[in-house]
Symmetry: C2
DNA sequence: TTGCCTGCAAATAATTTGCAGGTGA
DNA sequence: TCACCTGCAAATTATTTGCAGGCAA
């Protein structure tokens, strides 16, 4: 199995909990908070989720991000692909954007190694509701 | 004074504390955490700093962000200008980037209203230290 | 076997909130 | 005057950590 390989390559033991966390993140395919992950386990300790996520970040298997004004961290697999997300300001839904609209920035006296882009706006659903709300007011 | 005007235009009372917070943010010209702001006041209550920052965000005078893996919020004046920051992965220093290397993204079924870009890398100082460290190893 | 893992509960740290008194318009 | 502000302390919430037992290699 692929997951076992990733773990052992990183020098980590293949425990049931770690495999479970990896499976959840693989299936989710979107950034997940520790709480999100925990909710999909069958009673795994929340601190174990945090510890596993932390360890996987340390090994470069996961990335840890904060999103918008959220007061928590979100973890996601670093699949190799460079990804960005479009975040709906109304419902908070996140959607993956496959293209990267960022031109390689060239900054004087600074060695650029990467970047993170968050795109804000409204998803089709919320946009429609906004329009409806507007009409109602008129 | 300009600050008083901003506050009263927003329908807020011009209290000494609010003016102080605005002055600090104007002078800092970089995102500041509540703690950062608090450290520059003369004993203002930390919860007051939080309450003022929250109110100013609500009025669209400040923006509230999280940076990298930091576990706190940073506030900055929305001066009208569109800004991004280059963040040093080694020392955490933030530096303003005046240009915006993001091409207006066009996403199917999503109404884009804005974006946030963080650029990661190493400042000249830290880059130099990395080079030195490398040489030492050789 | 043995050191790395995990669960549980307690500890941190950032942020929020209730309440009583203070202050700007 | 009076509604809005502020300080203080206690409450919340996300995350971390100590410790004792458990499991992978």
């Amino acid at each position: 199995m692929e997951i076992n390989k990733i773990l052992s390559n990183a020098g980590l033991k293949c425990t049931g909990q770690r495999i479970k966390v990896m499976e959840i993140l693989t299936a989710a395919d979107l950034p997940m908070s520790a709480e999100n992950i925990h909710a999909l386990t069958d009673g795994m300790s929340l601190s174990t989720v945090y510890r596993i996520a932390e360890k996987l970040c340390e090994k470069g298997i996961l990335s840890k991000n904060t999103i918008r004004d959220s007061d928590k961290f979100y973890y996601e697999l670093i699949g190799g692909a460079h990804r960005h997300y479009a975040i709906c300001l109304s419902c908070g839904q996140m959607r993956r954007v496959n293209v990267c609209p960022v031109a390689a920035p060239d900054i004087d006296g600074f060695t650029v190694t990467g970047h993170k882009l968050e795109i804000y706006g409204y998803c089709a659903e919320c946009e429609r509701q906004k329009q409806t709300a507007k009409k109602r007011v008129l």
